[in-house]
């Protein structure tokens, strides 16, 4: 059954997918920083308020993933910011996250060399989001 996009339930399902992934377990070894995703509001897409996804990732596993405010996500070590539509494109495989970052469609804040070192891990994180069946607010 589809889960409401960027809800607490979605965050839990996403965390489960990350922790099920053998690829992430291997590629994320040594990672010890928090990552915040800022999903910017797009009222015309029925996404009226910006949200934040706060991810506590450690050494190849997700210790916690929860939904909070954009301000919560902005406090993380790494912050990736994009409007709702872009995140939807990432989660539905229409936009590759690496390409999105290179093109500036996803804005990254944090130590670039560190995140580039973990390209494979971030690609797998994206794959994990695509495995969660999502109900999108603009498709109701």
């Amino acid at each position: 059954m589809a889960i409401k996009a960027f809800s607490e339930e979605w965050a839990g399902a996403f965390k489960d997918e990350v922790n099920k992934s053998a690829v992430y377990k291997n590629a994320g070894k040594g990672w010890k920083w928090t990552v915040g995703l800022v999903i910017e509001a797009e009222p015309n897409k029925h996404f009226p308020e910006s949200k934040g996804v706060v991810m506590d990732l450690f050494d190849g596993s997700a210790r916690d993933i929860h939904v909070g405010s954009a301000a919560d996500a902005q406090k993380c070590d790494f912050v990736i910011t994009a409007p709702y539509t872009r995140w939807k494109e990432v989660a539905t495989k229409q936009l590759d996250a690496t390409k999105g970052m290179l093109q500036g469609k996803l804005k990254l804040k944090g130590d670039l060399p560190t995140i580039v070192r973990y390209t494979k891990a971030s690609q797998e994180m994206t794959e994990c989001t695509t495995r969660v069946p999502v109900e999108w607010p603009d498709e109701k």
């Binding site: 590759d96 690496t98 390409k99 970052m101 290179l102 093109q103 500036g104 990254l108 130590d111 670039l112 060399p113 560190t114 580039v116 070192r117 390209t119």
Partner: protein, 123 residues
């Protein structure tokens, strides 16, 4: 992003300073699957990043986004040479052989390419 990566690398890794101070070259990077690119104009301790490919480039790297990221994940081995025998290195070498990674101006500018790789590498 690529300019930012080099900037962070040079500031955060003192061992890259020497190459950065000495390198004078115009390096084009064209990301084939997004049809966008940059020219990194190294001017001996200064870097100017231009959108798109500028004229008079020393070398031009053409590859998809994933391969461009792999280039920055090449390890640097003895004598400051990129390592092509580990998993990442073999993948990059394989793409070069299959022409999925093309480097115009490679042969006469091998030393320049090695210096760029050292500056670019996050490993």
């Amino acid at each position: 992003m690529l300019g930012g990566l080099i900037d962070a690398n040079v500031k955060g890794r003192p061992e890259k300073q020497g190459d950065f101070e000495q390198l004078v070259a115009r390096v084009g990077i064209w990301v084939t699957d997004i049809d966008e690119g940059v020219t990194l104009d190294f001017k001996g301790g200064k870097l100017v990043v231009h959108n798109g490919l500028e004229a008079k480039r020393t070398i031009t790297i053409r590859a998809d986004a994933e391969t461009v990221m792999s280039l920055s994940n090449l390890k640097i081995g003895p004598l400051g040479l990129p390592v092509y025998y580990d998993e990442t290195g073999r993948a990059v070498a394989g793409k070069l052989l299959r022409r999925k990674l093309q480097i115009d101006g490679l042969l006469p500018n091998l030393l320049t390419l090695n210096a760029v790789t050292r500056i670019f590498s996050v490993q």
